[in-house]
């Protein structure tokens, strides 16, 4: 392939030491994510999806292995360096608790730029909100926004720095079907129209069907990958199989 990867993981291992045993949340994952693609990471609960996302996004450090984002090896950065990289090159949307409750939607969106000490035109944050269809909600605080609106504000905030990659951990996990579709449609448009790279964790086959590619995780290992024929039915069938194996 001639296109350079936006995110690349080499044999990433993440162990959690608890009092009685060690949990291998990630057990040697190697994967790469190309620009302008939407990838879904799927797997049963506890298979290491979130851990993979956190390691790939520089929110957490792998116990072993290497992560490169946009040409930068995360292992070589200290805490501040990692923070700056997240601020400049990476965007996130979590399942919930994405917004600072004391700030308005507009202020939340402007936050990464403010933290970077960049001068920000008021229009910039408003434009970002308009892009997610929330121009008229700019002055509202999170407590006055619905779940779907909060997630859209979170997406606007994640995109304001024009990041190389957008990570989303079950972004529709707490939304109803209709709102989910809206949010997913928006992510799809970003990929198609602006060549945004998006990596999304989900355990819902319908959500995964919006992706170009689906990676399947089980017990911290990559066990399968769909690059073509990503339909809800196919994904659901593969998942059912994985879950059956997991429950044995």
């Amino acid at each position: 392939m001639d296109v350079k990867e936006t995110v690349r993981l080499w044999s990433v291992r993440r162990l959690y030491g608890t009092a009685d045993r060690t949990v291998r949340a990630l057990d040697g994952v190697t994967a790469s994510f190309h620009p302008g693609t939407l990838t879904a990471v799927m797997g049963p609960s506890g298979s290491g999806k979130s851990t993979l996302l956190h390691c790939a996004a520089g929110l957490d450090r792998p116990t072993e292995g290497k992560v490169v984002i946009d040409g930068t090896d995360l292992g070589e950065l200290d805490e501040t360096g990692l923070t700056l990289l997240r601020r400049e090159r990476v965007g996130f949307v979590f399942q919930a608790f994405n917004l600072v409750s004391a700030l308005t939607a507009e202020q939340n969106v402007a936050l990464p730029l403010k933290l970077a000490g960049r001068p920000i035109a008021p229009a910039e944050a408003r434009a970002a909100l308009a892009e997610v269809g929330l121009a008229e909600r700019a002055g509202h605080r999170p407590s006055g926004l619905s779940g779907g609106e909060q997630q859209r504000v979170a997406i606007a905030r994640a995109l304001i720095t024009r990041p190389a990659v957008l990570f989303a951990d079950e972004p529709t996990g707490q939304l109803d079907t209709k709102t989910s579709r809206q949010v997913l449609g928006m992510l799809r448009d970003l990929v198609d129209n602006q060549a945004q790279t998006v990596i999304m964790v989900t355990h819902d086959p319908v959500t995964a069907s919006y992706a170009d590619r689906v990676l399947f995780l089980a017990d911290g290992r990559l066990v399968d990958e769909f690059t073509t024929g990503v339909t809800a039915e196919a994904v659901a069938a593969r998942m059912a199989n994985l879950e059956a194996v997991a429950s044995c």
């Binding site: 979130s50 956190h54 929110l59 957490d60 805490e79 501040t80 923070t83 700056l84 997240r86 601020r87 400049e88 996130f92 979590f94 399942q95 608790f97 994405n98 917004l99 600072v100 409750s101 004391a102 936050l111 990464p112 933290l115 970077a116 905030r157 720095t161 951990d169």
Partner: protein
């Protein structure tokens, strides 16, 4: 005065003078204070003229007058003008001012200390409540440094506003405080507070600084929040206590115990202040250890609640245990205050008791004669009862520096028993042969045989020969009694030692007393001042603790209104909800009180045994339990009130918009209808 005593011109009046009772004829009345004698009579009774005032006409050239007076006085005297006249302040006033300085310093140090504490515990709690917010900020690109600066920034704003309010309040209340200090005897009459800019600016700066210091540890903790903590559902802080904190806590406790022993040796002068430092170190130590200790003690303390049948007991126990941070944050200020109150009051009272005990041990006679309503004993009073007394006077060095002096006889020293010769034999005391205190010997490099050039109270210059060094004199120089009397006609004695209690003739201004009575009363004035000072310190720390406790509970209540609503919805009555909340806060206060006692009592016991060893006698442990109970009760009432008030919004269970006769009635959060 003539009217009050019924004296008219021509009648005879007997007054008590430094020579004993003397009779004078009243020659007339004046509208000034006091009694006026002829120069000759006055000279016979006074120590001589030490100060001559020069009254200038309005508009006179003070500098010219001063230099003229200087020329006239020559080497015989000094001339003071303007501010320099402060050097002539009476030694009593000077001492009172010194005490006042101690009081104000003590209160300032304590306030700053407690404020740092309160700010630290409030912000620690705030940061713990906001971990998820800090995690989110870290995730979206705030560096640890930015998070830290943000917390400092909040402290700066809050501290700045609070300091400004405090400064304004201080400027308004300062003059009244000055009057209070004079009334309590901490400042001499005539002391007044003038409000000027520099102290106010200083106080403002200190206030802001205190806020920044207090927030130091909370800011560091906020900066250490990892970005992933944004994803946690609840802000549980279940990490074990860091090793550094264990070490620091234990270190401060050890330091506190050491300082308590130091206070025991410090003597009455530095007792309250060194006691203060001991208590502060001890309390910092225990407060540092609190997060490790509180859960354990809370579990033990609430164990019985689990056995009862009521739901309330179970609720109180479980929520106190799960919200261990809230419990600890409420208990810590109470711990600080109760611990502090027990330590400082216990130290002061135990020390007073031990000094009294020490005095009765050293005195070798069975009884004493004490002044009765007069400033001191005249020689006539002591002689009338066959007692021997020491005289208090002063000596002046060439530079005008005053040295305290005591005149005694070898026989008297034998009876009083307090003086111990480090070198030389007290029997040699007499004429110009004197003993000096260890510090004076050290300061002036005096040894047996050295000469000490001084002026006596009456202005006569003289050279004293140092015979040796003596401890426990109670003054800088120990002279022969006759030498002091020769140069100071007005010197009086505090006490006269008599072989056994003998009645004193009336009119002498003296009364006999047994040793216990004397021991108890000898320092009564001083003890009263020290006690007032102590109470002030306790009041200050209690007030701060009350603020901190109320603050924590208010903050905590905001975060748990939802829980309380759930409780209400699952069938609890308002009363039960408020009862639970009040009982929880009471539990935390009781916990803090218990821990405070645990901190203070061992230190006090140590202090007592230290004193016991020092004087070889049993010293009672005196703790004013009533006062301690009042401190704890204040905290208890405030905590319960704050918790209940802050939880009230949870009582009105919010109603959903509901349908009434086909019309949707919209309701505000507080339940009132929104007009259509």
């Amino acid at each position: 005065m003539s009217r009050a005593l019924g004296l008219a011109a021509g009648t005879e009046a007997t007054v008590l003078t430094v020579r004993g009772p003397e009779t004078f004829r009243v020659s007339g009345t004046v509208d000034g204070p006091g009694v006026y004698l002829s120069d000759a009579d006055a000279a016979a009774l006074a120590e001589g003229v030490r100060v001559i005032g020069v009254v200038t006409e309005p508009g006179a050239d003070v500098a010219a007058v001063a230099s003229a007076v200087r020329a006239a006085a020559g080497a015989q005297g000094r001339v003071y003008t303007g501010e320099a006249r402060g050097a002539l302040e009476s030694r009593d006033d000077e001492r009172t001012r010194w005490i006042g300085m101690q009081v104000l310093t003590g209160m300032t140090v304590l306030s700053a200390f407690v404020s740092v504490f309160v700010v630290a515990s409030t912000f620690a709690f705030g940061v713990a409540q906001r971990r998820r917010e800090f995690g989110l900020l870290r995730a979206v690109g705030a560096t640890p440094r930015q998070v830290r600066r943000m917390v400092y920034g909040e402290a700066l704003v809050v501290g700045g506003v609070a300091a400004a309010c405090g400064v304004a309040l201080g400027a308004v209340l300062g003059p009244s405080l000055g009057e209070l200090l004079v009334a309590a005897g901490f400042e001499p009459v005539g002391f007044e507070v003038r409000v000027s800019a520099p102290p106010l600016a200083g106080a403002f700066a200190v206030g802001v600084l205190v806020a920044l210091l207090g927030v130091w540890s909370a800011a560091r903790r906020a900066a250490r929040v990892r970005p992933l903590e944004a994803l946690r559902e609840a802000a549980v802080d279940d990490r074990p206590m860091p090793r550094g904190r264990w070490i620091a806590g234990a270190g401060f406790c050890a330091l506190g115990v050491a300082a308590a022993f130091g206070a025991a040796v410090a003597g009455p002068e530095g007792l309250v202040t060194s006691g203060l430092y001991a208590a502060m170190a001890m309390i910092v130590g225990v407060a540092l250890l609190a997060p490790a200790v509180v859960p354990f003690v809370a579990r033990a303390l609430t164990w019985p609640l689990n056995r009862g049948r009521g739901a309330l007991g179970m609720l109180v126990r479980e929520s106190a245990l799960t919200a261990i941070r809230r419990t600890a944050s409420t208990a810590t200020p109470v711990l600080v205050t109760v611990g502090f109150a027990v330590l400082i009051t216990g130290m002061v009272q135990t020390t007073a008791a031990s000094f009294a005990a020490a005095r009765t041990t050293t005195i070798r006679t069975e009884a004493v004669i004490m002044p009765d309503g007069v400033p001191g004993l005249s020689d006539a009073a002591a002689a009338a009862s066959g007692g021997e007394s020491a005289l208090f006077s002063a000596l002046y060095e060439a530079n005008g520096e005053a040295l305290s002096a005591i005149g005694a006889t070898p026989a008297l020293l034998e009876r009083a028993g307090e003086v111990r010769a480090v070198s030389g034999s007290p029997a040699a005391l007499g004429g110009d042969r004197v003993f000096v205190s260890p510090w004076l010997a050290k300061e002036r490099g005096l040894r047996a045989g050295s000469a000490l050039r001084v002026a006596f109270e009456d202005g006569t210059p003289g050279t004293l020969r140092v015979e040796g060094v003596a401890e426990g004199v109670g003054a800088d120089v120990l002279l022969a009694r006759d030498t002091v009397r020769a140069h100071d006609k007005a010197a009086l004695a505090d006490v006269a030692y008599v072989a056994r209690a003998t009645p004193v003739p009336p009119g002498m201004g003296a009364r006999p007393a047994d040793l216990d009575t004397y021991a108890a009363q000898a320092d009564a004035d001083e003890d009263r001042l020290v006690w007032t000072f102590t109470l002030l310190l306790v009041a200050v720390s209690t007030a701060y603790a009350a603020v901190a406790v109320a603050n924590t509970l208010m903050m905590a209540a905001g975060g748990r209104l939802r829980d309380l609503r759930v409780l209400r919805l699952s069938g609890a009555t308002s009363r039960q909800v408020l009862g639970t909340v009040a009982a929880e806060s009471a539990l935390a206060v009781i916990l803090g009180t218990g821990l405070g006692l645990v901190v203070a009592i061992p230190a006090l016991l140590g202090l007592r045994s230290g004193y016991g060893d020092l004087i070889g006698r049993h010293v009672p442990l005196v703790v004013p339990w009533g006062l301690i109970a009042a401190v704890a009760a204040t905290c208890l009432v405030l905590a319960a009130t704050a918790a209940v008030l802050a939880s009230r919004p949870a009582l009105t269970v919010r109603e959903r918009p509901h349908v009434r006769t086909g019309v949707t009635v919209k309701r505000r959060r507080d339940g009132s209808e929104i007009p259509r």
